[in-house]
């Protein structure tokens, strides 16, 4: 590692990836937040986001040459995030309650504007999203939130288009139900 660190001072140029347009640094710089947010939406705990974001970019770097420049970048990245998040959640110790996850134990301030109105009501939306099974959630995020065309969604997640549509429909229904459930039963 020492050698690795010092070698950078010499800044050995590396041949550009075959895409010809997007190098890893550009992807990292431009999509860091996107990957971070995608992992978070996929249920990765705050404290683990750095690790998993790191893992995703390692994988991205490894697979960069496979990237077809005709594809949209974000869905492709989301595929990495999805697979990472799936592995992550498969570990029993990472199955957790998320409804309380945004509580901030280090900051017990009583009301100030109701803890910024429960973190601006986003907690509700997040909790509802968290209620979705991961496969459905991924379709929902890609299509309804990131506004990716369905064929691309299906391709990046490696599922048939019909399956993707079916998951989307289920996800929307589940989400709507989760919202009303949380709204009605929500007492701090």
């Amino acid at each position: 590692l020492e050698a690795l660190a010092t070698s950078t001072d010499r800044a050995v140029p590396r041949p550009a990836p075959p895409t010809g347009m997007l190098g890893f640094p550009e992807i990292f710089e431009g999509q860091f937040d996107y990957v971070w947010n995608s992992l978070r939406r996929l249920g990765v705990r705050e404290g683990d986001l750095e690790d998993l974001t790191h893992d995703v970019f390692v994988a991205v770097h490894r697979k960069l040459e496979d990237f077809d420049p005709g594809r949209a970048l974000r869905p492709w990245l989301f595929g990495f995030a999805f697979r990472r998040a799936s592995d992550y959640r498969r570990l029993a110790r990472n199955r957790f309650e998320v409804l309380e996850a945004s509580g901030d134990p280090a900051d017990p301030s009583p009301d100030p504007l109701e803890r910024a109105i429960q973190r601006q009501g986003l907690d509700l939306a997040r909790a509802a999203l968290e209620a979705l099974e991961l496969g459905r959630r991924a379709v929902f995020i890609l299509h309804d939130l990131d506004e990716i065309p369905m064929p691309d969604v299906a391709r990046e997640l490696g599922i048939p288009v019909n399956t993707a549509y079916s998951r989307l429909r289920l996800a929307r229904g589940e989400l709507a139900r989760a919202v009303s459930r949380l709204q009605s039963g929500d007492k701090p």
């Binding site: 590692l1 660190a5 939406r41 601006q120 709204q183």
Partner: protein
């Protein structure tokens, strides 16, 4: 073939989730991940647009297997880099909006590290402090949020809590600003219809205002930033001068953040910090303007 895009997911939930996806990762995260990836991966591209202090820090950090808590490795270089980050610098300008604000804030939240960062960032922030332009946040016309005419609105609930609860379950359309009907009902002389704020604020008027703001809070609570914004805007028009300005403005800022108008929220927050330098809401507002994940980093850093 078109696919039913809206289905039955509430629109404000969709927009809240979309806005949620636009958040920036915590300020230090990018640098730490970068350092772990190692310059062998990232800096190899030579022409990377990385801030030079960060690159230098990366060089130092790669040898030492950096953990998320080890932000000290980056030292001042990273602090400077962070200062260039728009979110942090606004956070800082907010805090230095008045020097009293800084004092009050650190007194309220005795967290040495955070206070230190604020202090470090002050220099940069001072240079880049935007000029307050409040008018563009809540334009007088507010064309995007049609408000019901005051006379058509139902009288507000006398007490705040039930009103808020009811509205929490009600569809967003319901949120029209209440008319001054509570007052006019008791006043023998016919009041002017648009009812500018009366010089004296009777109990009924105060309750009415509080109910309105409770509705705004309820809207925020369920993720309806646009609804909250509409209520706040209506309240602003009905009560330009009010004891509730501080609370109302705070809610307005949170609502702006929620609907994704972060720039407006920042400008507004800066004005807020000047106007209410000792406000108890200030820390909450500051927190809402920063990436929400940032709070997870502070416990270990505070020691």
């Amino acid at each position: 073939v078109t696919f039913d895009h809206s289905a039955n997911v509430p629109e404000h939930i969709l927009s809240a989730l979309k806005a949620d996806g636009q958040l920036a990762a915590p300020a230090g995260a990018r640098g730490r991940v970068l350092s772990r990836l190692g310059v062998g991966v990232v800096a190899a591209g030579a022409a990377v647009a990385l801030p030079s202090p960060l690159s230098a820090a990366v060089g130092k950090a790669t040898g030492t297997s950096v953990t998320p808590g080890a932000s000290g490795v980056f030292g001042l270089g990273l602090v400077k880099t962070l200062a260039a980050h728009p979110i942090l610098s606004v956070f800082a300008t907010l805090a230095i909006g008045s020097s009293v604000g800084v004092g009050a804030y650190t007194a309220l939240k005795p967290k040495p590290t955070r206070a230190l960062v604020v202090a470090n960032v002050v220099e940069v922030a001072r240079r880049s402090a935007p000029s307050p332009a409040e008018s563009r946040i809540f334009p007088p016309a507010a064309p995007t949020v049609p408000l019901a005419p005051p006379t058509a609105a139902p009288p507000p609930m006398p007490t705040s809590a039930p009103a808020a609860d009811e509205l929490a379950a009600a569809p967003t359309v319901e949120q029209s600003p209440p008319a001054p009907s509570a007052d006019t009902a008791q006043n023998p002389e016919p009041a002017l219809v648009p009812a500018p704020d009366l010089p004296r604020s009777g109990g009924a008027r105060l309750a009415e205002q509080q109910a309105l703001l409770d509705q705004a809070r309820a809207a925020l609570r369920r993720g309806d930033g646009a609804g909250a914004l509409a209520i706040v805007t209506g309240h602003e028009r009905l009560h330009p001068v009010t004891e509730f300005a501080e609370e109302r403005d705070a809610i307005g800022i949170l609502a702006l953040v929620m609907v994704g108008r972060a720039d407006d929220a920042w400008v507004r927050a800066e004005a807020f910090a000047r106007r209410h330098p000792t406000s108890l809401f200030l820390p909450s507002i500051q927190r809402s303007l920063r990436p929400r994940d940032a709070t997870t980093r502070k416990p270990e850093a505070a020691k």
